[in-house]
Structure formats: structure tokens, C-alpha cells
């Protein structure tokens, strides 16, 4: 479903150029759970921004379901992000002035879903991630694990085909981290959604059916159980 071919991404820094990704290729089938590991500064977030249609590579090709998404213009990209992709960030990025269900409902709002329906679906999704009792809470009143569950509900509420999670457990303690991982596994089974998890934690990566490592701008498959 995701097909990256020969992706290069370089940044202009002062007079020179730094090449973060070079000739990177990756194909992920629908419904796969893939972990991406790699040293700090290796370009994992850069890669995720490209996959998430927030950034464009300097070279290469990127197709989603065969559609060349690098040709899409800004509005079309917004629409694709809204319909196809859900983001989960390391530090949750909930909007502090919206309560839990309004945070979750946000992707639906930008789609023009009527408020009543958006609310119903947001609350159903919060129930699914185990926060039935916290739908009206403001983010500041939630624990880290709870915030991440809200963020996951927000990523999932629009029924995307792809979830991109950038170090989703990086800010959580091991026990909560494991709970979040189990939630991802359950959601993958239930919704058949493709999940890409960027992580530094080998324990997290080990639970993914496929693991890749980013180093020197290219991806290499890690043998199972490394």
C-alpha cells in the first residue's frame, strides 16, 4: 500500500548540504505493523514526515495505493492526510484548550462531519481505547498514558488506513508503554490498519511483525527477534 522508491532528502545548511536520506526504498503492505529503529538524528522523523505527506523528498517516488502523491497540491495533501493518515506523537500534542472528546473529534470536524455525529464517534473511540470515563476531561487533567490513548483515539477516529507513530512510548514508563503497545496490537487486528512505529525501545520493536533499521540514510530489514 505504501511504496517509497529511491527517496532522497537533503537539507541546505549554510553553504553546504546534508543528505539525511539517500536512495531509501520501503514498501509496506496494508495492515502491517512495522517498527523503525535508528540512532538519534538518523532521519526517522524526517522519513515519517515524508510518509505522512507533511514533507516532500528531494528525489525519488512515493505512491500510496499506486497514486503518485508527490504530484498532489496542498489542498489535496490536506485531504489525503485527513482521510488516510493518523498521527501519534511522542509528546501527544493534544490541543490544551479542547477536552478529550473534542480533541478526538478534530479530524472529523475538518472533514465537515456534523458535530453530533463527530461527538458520537469520538466518544465511541474513547471507549474503545479505555477512556469511557474521561471524555469531558481537559488534557491537563490526564496522565501521560491517558493522553497518549486520547491521541491514539484521535489518530483512529477518521478510520485512516495508516497510523504513523513517532516514538509513541518515548515519554512513558515501561508499564504504561507496554499497555500502549498492546493497544496498538489490538487495533491492528481489529481495524486492519497499517501501523508504522518509530522507536528506540527494542522491546517495543520486538512486538512488531516487521522491523527495519534506518542508518546512513537507508533502511535495512532486521532479522526477526533481534
Amino acid at each position: 500500500m505504501l511504496e517509497l522508491v529511491d527517496i532522497g532528502r537533503s537539507f541546505r545548511v549554510g553553504p553546504g548540504e546534508v543528505h539525511i536520506l539517500r536512495h531509501l526504498s520501503l514498501t509496506v503492505a496494508a495492515g502491517q505493523l512495522v517498527s523503525i529503529m535508528g540512532g538519534s538524528g538518523s532521519g526517522k522523523t524526517t522519513l515519517m514526515n515524508i510518509i505522512g505527506l507533511l514533507d516532500k523528498p528531494t528525489s525519488g517516488q512515493y505512491r500510496i495505493d499506486g497514486q503518485d502523491v508527490l504530484k498532489a497540491e496542498a489542498r489535496e495533501l490536506s485531504r489525503l492526510r485527513n482521510r488516510l493518515i493518523g498521527f501519534v506523537f511522542q509528546s501527544f500534542f493534544l490541543l490544551p484548550r479542547l477536552n478529550a472528546w473534542r480533541n478526538v473529534a478534530l479530524p472529523l470536524m475538518y472533514r465537515g462531519t456534523p458535530e453530533a455525529e463527530a461527538r458520537r464517534r469520538a466518544i465511541a473511540m474513547l471507549e474503545r481505547v479505555g477512556l469511557a470515563e474521561r471524555t469531558e476531561h481537559m488534557p491537563a487533567m490526564l496522565s501521560g498514558g491517558q493522553k497518549q490513548r486520547v491521541a491514539i483515539a484521535r489518530a483512529l477516529v477518521g478510520e485512516p488506513r495508516v497510523i504513523l507513530a513517532d516514538e509513541p512510548t518515548g515519554a512513558l514508563d515501561p508499564k504504561v508503554s507496554q499497555e500502549i503497545m498492546e493497544l496498538f496490537l489490538a487495533l491492528k487486528r481489529e481495524y486492519g490498519v497499517l501501523i508504522l512505529i518509530i522507536t528506540h525501545d527494542p522491546g517495543v520493536a520486538a512486538q512488531c511483525e516487521r522491523q527495519v533499521v534506518l542508518a546512513d540514510g537507508v533502511l535495512t530489514e532486521a532479522p526477526r527477534g533481534c
Binding site: L106, P107, G158
Partner: protein
């Protein structure tokens, strides 16, 4: 959709109350100044109309000036005017002076006019009781008093009315009429309410150096004030020899008052405009600060699927909401200010129909104008940069 945008904007503004209030202040002051200006203009216009309603606008006043002081008309020259100049309907020559009168121990100082019977017609005065001075009264010791003066001279036991005796200097005049209350007119050198009238022959008895220096004249309805003024100068000028004749028309006076009002209105308008611009800059400043603080929120919204247009709407709504709130408060403050002005100057308060909608319109325009740039800036943020922001 609109409701949701407005509700969200309101919530965001409430979240940073202090800052919002500060930006609000500028808009409130600006809108209030604009509204006050418009309303004071309306009040002043209304007042001008009110002042001239009593006498009408087809009035001229004539004055003769000598080299050393007041001049002297010949009574016959003035009284012949309606016959000699077709545009002149009626003329009321008068001698002007002032002094005190006594009644039952009450003393009051007032203007004193020596008049002919025509005075009542030209000024369209009405009598509360009795009659006005007639041309046959000549040396009879008769007096007519204005409503205010009658009240001042009255005692609880002896009101001034027809038949009362007034001591003026060495003479006792009999009151033969009391005038109905009248508004003061800018065309008259005296306030009729506070004036005592006697016949022209009698003025020598109550004034030291009387001179027939003034007249009030009513033109025919279709006459042109400027043409009549020129005719009068041609006709009366030679008869006055070395004295000067000055003619003032009601229209000329109104024009003068209006241009003065316009200046005042313009001044207030300029103050309002400056305050509004400052308020607008305040709004812009707040929006820029707010956007800088909420970069990550903007990044998240963009990642989630918001289009740049959605972000622009979000921030534009905040700016407009802020200035509309300021505008509404400003309307109330401005109207209150205009009311205070009317109260202080003793003028009648009228609500200008254009003030409120114009004030509201202007403040919305300010919100859009000064909110647009920050909103566009926000919508152009790069989502990656915005997400990285701390």
C-alpha cells in the same frame, strides 16, 4: 460551521483574558470616539434646527454702527421698507438696553427693548395673557414682560400679571401683557423670555442714551437672503451717511454654525480614526503573539488535515470577534459620551440612526484588516516547523 468557528474563537480569547482585554481597550476607545462624534453631530444639527424653528430661517437682523458706538436708524426709513422693497414682508425696529425692574420688593435685571407693534408679528410671539405693545400706546406707561422675567418678579402672593405695577427708575409701568415662553434664538441679541418691552417713545424714560440701532425683518417666503441684503445695503446705506449697516441672515448664521460643527466633528473623527488604528495594531499584535504561542497547535491541526484556509479562518475569527466585542462596547460608551455632552450643554439628546451600524461596521472592518495579515501568516506555517516548535 460558523457557530463552531465563533465558539472556538471565543474560547481561545477567553483563555488569554488579560491580553484580549488590552487589545479590546483600543478598539473600544476608537469605536466610542467615532460613535460619539457621529452622535454629537446629530445632536448639534438637531439643536440648530430647534433654535431656528421658532423664528424661522427667513429672518434678517439689521444693525447700524456709528464711528464711536451704536448707530441710529430713522424710524420712518425702516418702516417704509416693506413698501419700497417687495422682498421685505415686515420690519420691527427696536431700541436695545437693559436695567432693573421692581415689583412688590422683587428686583430683577433684564434686557429692555423699545419696540413697535410689528415686533410681535416678526418674532411670531404669542401672549400668555393680555396684549403686546401697540402703535397707539406711545407715551402710556405700559410694559409687556417675557415669561421668565414675569416669574422672577412674582412673589407667592403677588404674581406678575396683566394689571401689575412695575417700578422702573422713577416710573411705574402697568403690565399689559405677558409673553408665552420662547426658545432663545441665535438671531436675537436678547432672550425674549427675559426681556421687558415698552413703546419706542417710552425708552427715553428708562434708558440714558437710547438709539434706534437695530431691526429685525422678515422676508417674503421666496426671497433670497443675499439679494435682499444687497438691496438693503443699496437702499439704506446712503440714508445712514457715515454709519455702517450690517445685515445678518439666519441662513448665514446656520452655515457658520454648521461649518464650526463640521470642524469639531472632523476633529473627533480624526481622534476616533487614530484610536481605531491603534486598536487595530493592538489586535494585530495580540494575534501575532497568540500565533507564535500556538505554533504547535497549528502544526497538529495541519497534520490532522486542516487546510491552510481553515487555519486562516480560525485566527481571522478571533481577530474579528475581538474587534466586534470592542465595537459593541464602544457603541455603548460612545452613545453614553454623546448623552453626557448633550446633558452638559443642555441640548436635547437624539440618537443618530447611522452611528451604531457605522461603528459596528468600522470595527468589523478594522478586525478583518488588521487580523488578515497574522491569519495569513499562520496559514502559511510549515507544518513540520510548527510541530517542532516548543
Amino acid at each position: 460551521m460558523l457557530k463552531r468557528v465563533v465558539a472556538e474563537a471565543a474560547a481561545n480569547l477567553l483563555a488569554s483574558r488579560q491580553r484580549s482585554a488590552l487589545a479590546l481597550l483600543g478598539i473600544v476607545i476608537g469605536a466610542a470616539a467615532v460613535i460619539a462624534m457621529l452622535n454629537v453631530g446629530a445632536i448639534a444639527r438637531n439643536e440648530t434646527i430647534r433654535q431656528f424653528r421658532q423664528l424661522g430661517t427667513d429672518i434678517l437682523t439689521l444693525r447700524a454702527d456709528g464711528n464711536t458706538g451704536l448707530g441710529n436708524f430713522q424710524l420712518a426709513d425702516l418702516e417704509a421698507l416693506p413698501m419700497e422693497l417687495p422682498a421685505v414682508a415686515e420690519v420691527a425696529p427696536f431700541v436695545i438696553g437693559g436695567g432693573s425692574a421692581q415689583h412688590e420688593g422683587q428686583v430683577a435685571v433684564s434686557s429692555q427693548l423699545g419696540v413697535t407693534a410689528a415686533f410681535a408679528q416678526v418674532t411670531r410671539m404669542r401672549m400668555q395673557g393680555g396684549r403686546f405693545i401697540s402703535d397707539y400706546d406711545r407715551y402710556e406707561l405700559y410694559a409687556v414682560v417675557g415669561a421668565g422675567l414675569a416669574q422672577q418678579l412674582s412673589t407667592p402672593y403677588a404674581p406678575v400679571r396683566v394689571g401689575s405695577g412695575l417700578r422702573i427708575g422713577r416710573y411705574v409701568f402697568t403690565v399689559i401683557g405677558v409673553v408665552e415662553p420662547m426658545l432663545p434664538s441665535p438671531m436675537m441679541p436678547v432672550d425674549i423670555d427675559n426681556t421687558l418691552f415698552v413703546s419706542i417713545p417710552n425708552v427715553r424714560r428708562i434708558m440714558a442714551n437710547p438709539s434706534l440701532s437695530m431691526a429685525i425683518l422678515r422676508m417674503r417666503p421666496d426671497a433670497d437672503a443675499e439679494a435682499v441684503t444687497a438691496q438693503l445695503q443699496r437702499h439704506l446705506g446712503p440714508k445712514l451717511r457715515d454709519q455702517r449697516l450690517s445685515v445678518q441672515s439666519a441662513r448665514q448664521l446656520i452655515a457658520g454654525m454648521q461649518s464650526q460643527m463640521q470642524l469639531f466633528t472632523l476633529l473627533l473623527g480624526a481622534v476616533g480614526a487614530i484610536a481605531l488604528v491603534l486598536g487595530g495594531v493592538g489586535v494585530m499584535n495580540i494575534m501575532l503573539v497568540s500565533i507564535a504561542e500556538r505554533r504547535r497547535e497549528i502544526g497538529v491541526r495541519l497534520a490532522i488535515g486542516a487546510e491552510p484556509g481553515d487555519i486562516r479562518t480560525l485566527f481571522l475569527a478571533e481577530a474579528v470577534l475581538l474587534s466586534v466585542t470592542g465595537g459593541v462596547l464602544g457603541i455603548f460608551l460612545g452613545i453614553a459620551g454623546a448623552w453626557g455632552f448633550a446633558w452638559l450643554s443642555g441640548w436635547e439628546f437624539v440618537l443618530s440612526a447611522t452611528a451604531a451600524p457605522l461603528g459596528a461596521g468600522v470595527s468589523v472592518a478594522v478586525g478583518i484588516f488588521f487580523g488578515f495579515y497574522p491569519a495569513v501568516m499562520a496559514s502559511r506555517l510549515d507544518p513540520i516547523e510548527a510541530l517542532r516548535a516548543e
